[in-house]
């Protein structure tokens, strides 16, 4: 199947520092990819480059067959949604209004809400399980609930590609399970999902494919269990990883130790 989003040998600088040294990565329709890597490996930079917010100095990013830099901004935001860790959103904004802003690329500055817009907003609220919070101001929510509202905004864009930077960062275990279930539902509906995930066992349990980024380069890629137990992962995280298969569990349990 063809890639919906693809980075080809992308070299990206932030300021004077070259952060990505020629990264290639592709994402197919209805695929769930976990992007993992140690701190400062360039994961956030890669996600923003894939989203078209950072321009590679060399190489390119291709969205649905066309360089992302050639896309019209609104059209790009209809095809691709980016959800980053919750910044300080306006505290008095209601969840409903926040999610409705996800329709901006569809509506522009002037078009009123159509039935289609309303359906997308309600669908996003329902999918993330925050219908009851719709009328609440963001300042009255927990960090985890605000993160779900941010995800709902991304779903309201009705994108073909969903990129997430550490979506589970503020969430307790129950909310994390819910989050990855929501991402899986989006994937099942045909959306290509790529998420930066720090919790490696969680990433392995969720993703169909894992990409390991280490110091600005992809050093391993493939089935999550294979990537996690690879020597590249051990080198990247400076740990030794062991997988323990247990009868009755779909995924192995992992243990991490500092190398002796």
């Amino acid at each position: 199947m063809n890639a919906v989003l693809e980075a080809r040998d992308a070299v990206v600088r932030r300021g004077a520092r070259e952060v990505l040294h020629g990264v290639s990565l592709s994402l197919r329709e209805a695929e769930a990819v976990a992007l993992v890597g140690p701190n400062a490996a360039g994961k956030s930079t890669l996600v923003r480059t894939l989203a078209g917010l950072l321009r590679p100095e060399r190489g390119q990013v291709i969205l649905q067959g066309r360089p992302v830099s050639q896309w019209d901004r609104d059209a790009r935001a209809r095809a691709l949604a980016l959800v980053t860790p919750e910044e300080e959103t306006p505290p008095a904004l209601t969840v409903q209004d926040r999610v409705a802003l996800g329709r901006y690329p569809h509506r522009g500055p002037f078009r009123p809400l159509t039935r289609e817009d309303r359906a997308a907003i309600e669908g996003a609220l329902a999918a993330t399980g925050i219908v009851d919070l719709a009328r609440r101001a963001l300042e009255t929510l927990s960090a985890g609930e605000r993160q779900l509202a941010a995800l709902a905004r991304g779903l309201a864009q009705q994108p073909r590609v969903l990129l997430l930077d550490e979506p589970g960062a503020h969430l307790d275990v129950g909310h994390q399970l819910a989050l990855f279930r929501i991402l899986d539902q989006a994937r099942a509906a045909g959306v290509a999902v790529l998420a930066v995930v720090h919790d490696l066992p969680r990433a392995a349990a969720w993703a169909g494919r894992m990409v390991l980024l280490d110091r600005g380069q992809v050093t391993a890629e493939g089935p999550p269990d294979a990537v996690l137990t690879s020597p590249e992962a051990a080198r990247a995280f400076r740990v030794s990883v062991r997988a323990h298969a247990l009868p009755g569990l779909p995924h192995p349990l992992y243990s991490f130790e500092e190398p002796s």
């Binding site: 609104d74 790009r76 306006p90 209004d97 901006y104 009328r135």
Partner: protein, 340 residues
């Protein structure tokens, strides 16, 4: 009460309060006019029968002194409040206001320069010089902040602060170098006030303010997207830098026009949006019009107080808005801190 009803109620109260305050302010002053006659005289202009005619002197006072002043107070207050609300979204900070862009200090510097040159008594010279000063300061902030590429909001803020300080220094030097009798004319302007403003001021300043405020209202939705932060706004397809630039430019025009006709009127841009946001919500399409009405009411009443509190002299309007605004703000800060 649901938020929709609360918002509708707030708009109803504001929409009723503004004409009421306009009428009250037109009727009150050193010569009191009967409010009924004021209404009747206004109605007569619209072709209604003048049932309670004013005396000829009353007519003159109403139409050449009171009305231009009262209307100017309304548009100045409304304009400053809309700009405050817009800048608070752009800077994602409830303390943002046109002062951040160097508008006030630039206008003051321009006005003092005009007086120093000896244009203090020339009709409209002061507001035009003030407007030029405000625009020069904003341009300086923009050019300096962009010297090292696209600036962050933080860099923009600090540049505004530095340019304001520079303009303030220029103003003090000019004031010291100006003859004492001329300083008096500009002091009234610096303190903020609407004494002796004519229909020409209303047409020039008011026209620019209302046009700018409408333009900001048209940008309400991009403003909402911008308030989510640079990255999220860009991810939603908004041309962030262009939109921000457009809003800053229109805001500078509006605030520059307001300051050039009324002098410094502090705190309106902070208090009106801050007080109304809990009632109408933070979305631009609700907050901007509400802020316009609220700011208008606030300055019309402040100007009324400036004219009538003392029988001997006109108090400076800017001082009155600060007397109301500063304590309000301290109080709001305390409740906010207590909640956090």
């Amino acid at each position: 009460m649901t938020e929709t009803r609360r918002r509708a109620l707030a708009f109803a109260v504001l929409a009723a309060a503004l004409p009421l305050c306009l009428c009250l302010a037109s009727a009150s002053g050193s010569v009191a006019l009967p409010p009924g006659s004021v209404l009747s005289s206004l109605g007569a202009r619209l072709g209604l029968p003048d049932v309670f005619p004013l005396s000829p002197a009353g007519q003159t006072i109403l139409w050449t002194v009171r009305l231009p002043r009262v209307l100017l107070a309304a548009v100045v207050g409304g304009g400053l409040a809309v700009v405050g609300a817009a800048l608070q979204s752009v800077f994602r900070n409830p303390m943002a206001d046109s002062g951040l862009l160097g508008v006030g200090s630039g206008a003051a510097c321009g006005a003092v320069l005009a007086v120093k040159i000896g244009w203090g008594q020339t009709f409209l010279a002061l507001p035009i010089a003030a407007f030029a000063g405000a625009m020069a300061a904003v341009l300086a902030v923009y050019v300096l902040a962009h010297a090292a590429g696209r600036p962050s909001l933080h860099a923009l803020l600090l540049t505004g602060l530095a340019v304001s300080a520079l303009a303030g220094a220029g103003t003090s030097v000019l004031l010291v170098a100006t003859e004492e009798f001329r300083v008096r004319t500009v002091l009234f302007w610096l303190a903020g006030g609407l004494e002796g403003r004519s229909w020409t001021h209303v047409q020039l300043g008011g026209g620019l303010i209302v046009a700018g405020a409408l333009l900001l209202l048209a940008l309400a939705r991009p403003l909402d997207v911008l308030s989510l932060g640079t990255e999220e706004a860009a991810a939603l397809g908004l041309p962030v830098h262009l939109t921000r630039l457009g809003i800053l430019a229109v805001s500078s025009l509006v605030a520059g026009a307001a300051t050039s006709v009324a002098g410094s009127v502090p705190f309106v841009g902070l208090v009106a949006p801050h007080a109304l946001r809990p009632l109408v919500g933070p979305l631009g399409r609700h907050l901007l019009p509400a802020a316009f009405l609220g700011g208008a009411v606030l300055v019309v009443l402040a100007d009324l107080a400036a004219r009538t509190l003392s029988a001997q002299l006109d108090l400076p309007l800017g001082a009155l808005t600060a007397f109301v605004g500063a304590p309000y703000f301290l109080l709001a800060l305390r409740t906010h801190e207590a909640r956090a």
